[in-house]
Amino acid sequence: MIKAENLTKYYGRRKVVREVNFEVERGEIVGLLGPNGAGKTTTMRMITGYLNANSGRAVVAGFDVNENPLEVRKRIGYLPETVPLYNDMTVQAYLDFTAKIRGVPSRDRRRRIVEVMEMCRISDVAGRVIGKLSRGYRQRVGLAQAIVHNPDVIILDEPTVGLDPRQIIEIRHVIRNLAGNHSMILSTHILQEVSTLCDRVIIINQGRVLVDDTLANLERQGQESERLQLEVRGKSPLVLQTLQGLPGITRVNLQQKNDEEPGTINRYTVDGEPGGDPREAIVAALTANGFGLLELKTAVPTLEEIFVKIITEDLPIEDEIETKSDLDEELDEGEEENDEELDEAPVASENEIKQAPSFLSKNKDGELVDPDSSDKRDSDRKK
């Protein structure tokens, strides 16, 4: 449905999108993930035809965006990051206008507007002026305009940014209901969103695609070994000794050390050999030695950890300056698109990259993560 072939975009002399390639099938929801300034918005704008690519091409529903812009636009519903609302119009009038310019035939228009207002749960504000609506409503009105013409392709740029948790859940609900009939690209930097909504993830950093994979695969890759978390009552040296003596266990870490009172409780992480399952052995050994096992759970690295790891391992790109005419640069300066410029993309030096594991080395539970295993995963990921 959507195909990006070597899409490349310069802002002045900076290459903000570098030969991006990906495809989105019919009915698929793809999450475009990346830090701020990674090139997500620019990529989306090139697919919608709002910006022209400097090289490469985008094909939507079989139409080249440059050659057949109108055909492409008929089939795309787009919610930009700044929701394009006319503050002086009522919700109903606004949707009527957007339906008209999207070519919804007049006999279907009224019905369709009522439909999308219901889908996006904005029927109760149909007659209100958009400028006076709360952020959550505005965002949903924006979503309604993107789907009013029932497009094959829906492109949403950070649809939940700046909303409160309840509004986020509502928007996600709406988006999930849209899935199935529409191909969707959804950009975000909230990882939870991806895991709740998307079939597939494309991680972009510094204008390049780093990862293009299903969520399940990504999570599997992130899982370097079988890791367990334990909470055990008993003196820590003895517990450690017991655990380390078990077969199939490669590493044991004590997290909080607290041995002052008798019968104290400590937390441990245990790494087992890949593929093995040492849980039963652990339980048996601990109970046999009279320790109290209070908790035992498998620790799966969160998507967040995987994401941060991938981004921090991405080496900075040498700034290859390719000359473009000054005229283009002048034009760029006028644009108010600072958010999309590659301002603070992680341009880390070699040193910082080496230090990166230390930044990574503690996850939210404070457990230590082995920095060495990253290389192996890095090569896996790049296939």
Binding site: L51, Y78, T82, D88, F97, K100, I101, G334, E336
Partner: protein, 241 residues
Amino acid sequence: MKNTYYITQREVYAYFASPIAYVIMAVFLVFSGIFFYSYAIDVQEANQIMRSWFSLVGFFMLFFGSIITTRLIAEEQRTGTLELLFTSPVRNWEVVLGKWLASMALFGVALLFTFYYLLILIILGGKVDLGPLVSGYLGLLLEAGVFSSIGLFASALAFNQVIAAVLSLVFSLILYILGPLVVRSGTTDWIGNTLNFITLQTHMQGFAQGVLDLRDIIFFLSLITLFLYGTGQSISTRRAA
């Protein structure tokens, strides 16, 4: 073409949904009323009154045109709705033309109110000829069209309302008085002639006098086309950058 109509419709809606249209039209009518009054008490002949009034109001259109058009594109750029228009199956020129027509509609409404002056003249027994009247109003509309298209062009160039307003005012003013400004009267060399020819004032006098000249009409229409085309090009260039 249908899209052009939709865009016009929305812009007219926007004009009248905000105080803009009312304030600007009120100001316009106050001034044109004062002009009318000052001529009407001095001059006896009704056609003469309208002639003077047409030429002064024509100049006044310059400010009116700049003010009502500068927001048309700059504002949409600011709020991000330009992104909506240009990712919809609408052509650039449809957007530009639609917006220009909306400003023309506002002019049209404002000019309708000035028929009131005519009514006063007729009620008071003045004899107004239809010919000069038609040519006068046609002239005003064409002038309004030129100033709006300049304003629209400035709006697309500057993408900032204040800068756009200044740009369009300066540009319109220069175009309006170019000849008299730089050419000494009586000069007949080709530079002088050219500058005089592209001066708006030169072409406006005819309409006010009731002389319909096809060349003037074509001159105005080509200026309008030129600036609207420039507006469209300016927008496409930005997107390609």
